[in-house]
């Protein structure tokens, strides 16, 4: 449904994105993840026909965003990063304008407006001036604007930015409810958000796509170290446990999880699989093993790994060049 091939965009001499390639299938909810300034908004502006790319092609539903711009725009509902609203209008009037501008025929306009108003929970404020609404409601009006006319593709640029936690939860469930009928592409710099709402994640950093996978797949694929949580019945000292299992090949780091000395986090090299050996030695010591459990790296940590890997890699070529 969405197809980006080799998208590159220069602002003057500075590349904002380089060779960005990904695709989104029909009905998928895909997250576009990256730190601030990574090029998310730039990519999205190209997809929504706001700006043409310097090179590369973007297609929506098989139509080129640059050549069939007007037709493509008909298929997209877009919520930009700074929610664009005519603040002097009432919610209803604004949505009327949106419906008219999107070319929705006059007969179905009324029904369509009622539909998005109830879908976005705007019934109570539909007669109020947008300028007087809270940030959360404005965001919903922005979303309502994107949903009007029920376009097959919904593109949201940081839809939860600036909302309070309760509003974020509401927004996410709203987005989740879109899955199925629409193809949704949403950008974010917050991981849990993407993990909770999306089937798939495209990670972008410094203008380049660094990974594309499901949230679980990403975690699995990028786990270089596996962590184990150990819960003991009897408290032990740091040196004791270190001498007992620190020598096992594959054990990298042992850190206490709390002060009591009963709970420990052990970082291991997954490829060497030291777990059976650890268990055996602890049983022999009679420390009363209660629990031994591997903990997955959170998506947040995977993300940090991806992003920081990228950063540490950069100075290397410079050094070799010098």
């Amino acid at each position: 449904m969405i197809e980006a091939v080799g998208l590159t965009k220069f602002y003057g001499d500075i590349p904002a994105i380089q060779n960005v390639t990904f695709s989104v299938d029909k009905g998928e909810v895909v997250g576009f993840l990256g730190p601030n300034g990574a090029g998310k908004s730039t990519t999205i502006k190209i997809l929504t026909c706001f700006m043409p790319p310097t090179s590369g092609t973007a297609k929506i539903d098989g139509l080129d965003c640059f050549e069939d711009s007007l037709k493509v725009r008909q298929k997209i509902g877009y919520l930009p990063e700074t929610v664009p609203l005519y603040t002097e209008m009432t919610v209803k009037r604004f949505l009327q304008f949106c419906a008219k501008a999107k070319g929705i025929n006059a007969k179905s306009t009324k029904k369509e407006i009622e539909r998005v108003i109830s879908e976005c929970g705007l019934e109570n404020v539909s007669g109020r001036i947008i300028g007087h609404l809270s940030k959360g409601y404005r965001q919903r009006v922005g979303l309502a604007q994107a949903l009007i006319g029920s376009p097959p593709v919904i593109i949201l640029d940081e839809p939860t930015i600036g909302l309070d936690p309760a509003q974020i939860v509401e927004m996410r469930s709203l987005i989740k409810s879109l899955a199925g009928q629409h193809t949704v592409f949403l950008s974010s710099h917050i991981l849990p958000e993407v993990a909770q709402t999306c089937n798939r994640v495209v990670i972008i950093n410094k203008g380049e796509v660094v990974a594309t996978d499901t949230p679980e797949g990403l975690t699995r694929q990028l786990q270089k170290t596996k962590r184990i949580r150990l819960l003991l019945n009897n408290p032990v000292k740091s040196q004791e446990i270190e001498s007992a299992i620190g020598t096992i090949p594959g054990v990298k780091l042992i850190t206490p999880d709390n002060q009591e000395g009963r709970s420990w986090i052990i970082e291991t090299d997954a490829s060497l699989e030291p777990r059976p050996e650890i268990a055996e030695r602890i049983v022999n010591k009679k420390w009363g093993i209660l629990e031994m459990k591997s903990i997955d790296l959170s998506l947040e940590e995977v993300f940090m790994q991806l992003v920081t890997d990228e950063e540490t890699e950069i100075p290397e070529p410079e050094e070799s060049a010098a």
Partner: protein, 257 residues
């Protein structure tokens, strides 16, 4: 021209709901009322003297003593006020980010630009309509030449449209409404006083060029009741040129953000 009416209606609404429009209308009507009153008062004073002086009575002419000065005065007021009408057209949309809506909705850029231009022109014509009662008053007092008045309105609206097209362009240059208004005011004033150059121009062609460029030179014939295609074409070219520049500006905005 898909989406033209939606944007046009929105433009009208945004004028309606903005205090700037009412302030402009208020100032405009006060000033135009004052100018009308002063030319009429002068006329009545002269006509009172003319009742004792038959030579003066021959000179007495409602068109050249009231109508023409009134419309020329109005053109100065409009020069001052039209930048204020146009300043927000694109600048405000850029500032609030709503331009991103317009440029990603299924509306062609041409429709957006024309809808904005026609919207502000409609507002301008409403202001003109507000001066009509003064002309009605003339009808009540004596017999004005209505075809001259019609030509005056035609010329003023053409000139106003030219002012507005320039303001539309400067508004697309910046996010700041004050800057947009200042630029368009400066440019309009430049087009106004360029005719002064003709007195110091060295050769005939330069003189003619300066004269042709001047935005006021072309209003003059209208106020005498003359409809000359040359002057109509000047204004139409002027408008077309700035609409074209505005479209180019939107293109470049799309490219460079």
């Amino acid at each position: 021209m898909k989406g033209f009416w939606a944007v046009y209606k929105k433009e009208l609404y945004s004028f309606w709901s903005s205090p700037i429009f009412y302030v402009i209308a208020f100032v405009f009507f006060i000033l135009s009322g004052y100018f009308f009153y002063s030319s009429l008062a002068y006329y009545s004073m002269v006509s009172f003297q003319a009742s004792q002086n038959p030579f003066l009575a021959q000179q007495l002419n409602l068109t050249s003593m009231v109508i023409r000065p009134f419309f020329l005065d109005l053109s100065v007021v409009l020069l001052l006020l039209s930048p204020l009408l146009t300043m927000k057209l694109f600048a405000e949309e850029r500032k609030s980010g709503t331009i991103e809506l317009l440029l990603t909705y299924p509306i062609s850029d041409a429709a957006t630009v024309w809808a904005k231009f026609c919207g502000v022109l409609t507002i301008f014509c409403l202001l003109m309509l507000g001066t009509l009662p003064s002309m009605m008053l003339l009808e009540y007092l004596s017999k004005p030449n209505w075809s001259v008045i019609a030509a005056c309105y035609g010329g003023l609206i053409l000139m106003g449209a030219a002012f507005l097209s320039l303001g539309l362009f400067t508004s697309s240059l910046t996010q700041n409404q004050i800057i947009a208004a200042t630029l368009s005011f400066g440019a309009l004033l430049g087009f106004w006083i360029i005719s002064w150059m003709k007195s110091i121009a060295q050769n005939y062609t330069a003189r003619k060029v300066f004269e042709y460029l001047s935005i006021t030179q072309h209003l003059d014939p209208f106020t005498k009741g003359l409809l000359d295609t040359r002057h109509i074409i000047y204004y139409i070219l002027f408008i077309a040129f700035f609409i074209f520049l505005t479209r180019r500006r939107i293109d470049s905005y799309r490219w460079y953000g």
